[in-house]
Symmetry: C2
DNA sequence: ACCTGAACACCGTTCAAGT
DNA sequence: ACCTGAACACCGTTCAAGT
């Protein structure tokens, strides 16, 4: 009689939390097993390899992000308000234990990632950029730039702000950087 | 009679290269030992712990960057030209085997870093920001922002561009993002 | 002064064995 | 269907031993 109704679910929850702090390399099956209350060998029953777990993790993370972004776009089609919601999602990770976007931290480990995980990380970036393109459609892009280039720049800049704030363990650094992005016109505000 | 005149130097060179690709977690004493042609236990003679190696690595990396930046500032005090040189340093890492800035990749692993390495990563960020403040002194900051806030935003944005381009293994993505930063006024160009 | 082999507790993975 | 113990080759680290 297991404590949790669904071991697979419990593994995914613990793994997501750990991965957002320690990355893919820092994710340990033995630590994960302790969190869940099983032996590390048992994790392989649910996820044959660490790469399988990483890929599922990233795919679920993307689906969750997609849902959040769609909900924001449904509340308003104002670029400034949508971007505020967008920035808020990345801010939340920092607030919650100085964590990173799962796919942002994994992008840094790119060379060590199994191919299946690499693909999911790329898909997350695409999802973000596609949503930003939709939002930015009714805003004025920087001179000579199309919406796609603009979207890519915003995605990269927010990821960088998260990374910079994290290594200071200080969310206000994130806020300050975003404010400068807005003042410069990179982010509509 | 060792092949290399200075084993310590050989360890540092190999470690820097590996760390810029695989990060601190992905740095293996046994792989490093193979590169240098000694046994992994021997590395501990030169660097007692992996944290010691990481801290020395980051400190040397910072010193090298400081020299490069000072040289650029000596060639010209034009903000646009200095920033072009700055961007070029980050671009070079991507060109050279899709590598990252050492301290950028380590910032993503922040939670797993020994304290001595954390300090060096923070010092690298400070060095970058201080240099940028000097360069930006004679340029017009985005409305309501001081030079320090502006410098922080540029440092974060360039790091994010490197991260985003790396996970596509495509330097032209970096160039496109930087072009948008320039068009928006975030980076003087 | 510099290097090594052997040991330790870690890691992901496999697999025969349990229920 | 789900879990485990034991084994394997990896990891950083220690240390007595070599030169």
């Amino acid at each position: 009689m297991p404590m949790t109704p669904d071991t697979r679910e419990a593994i995914l929850t613990a793994a997501r939390s750990r991965a957002q702090s320690h990355g893919y390399n820092g994710l340990s099956f033995r630590e994960l097993a302790k969190d869940v209350g099983i032996k590390s060998a048992s994790i392989h029953y649910h996820f044959p390899t660490k790469g399988d777990l990483g890929a599922v993790l990233a795919r679920l993370y993307s689906a969750h992000a997609q849902a959040d972004l769609d909900a924001a776009l449904e509340r308003t089609d104002s670029p400034a308000e949508c971007l505020a919601a967008y920035v808020g999602l990345f801010r939340k990770a920092l607030e919650d234990g100085n964590r990173m976007c799962l796919c942002g931290i994994m992008a840094a480990e790119y060379d060590d990632l199994p191919d299946a995980v690499k693909a999911e990380v790329a898909a997350f970036a695409d999802l973000n950029i596609d949503w930003l393109v939709k939002v930015l459609a009714k805003a004025d892009a920087p001179a000579g730039q199309n919406a796609k280039q603009w979207a890519r720049a915003i995605y990269a800049a927010i990821g960088g702000a998260q990374l910079a704030a994290r290594s200071r363990n200080d969310v206000t650094i994130f806020d300050g950087i975003v404010a400068t992005y807005q003042a410069s016109g990179l982010i509509p505000g």
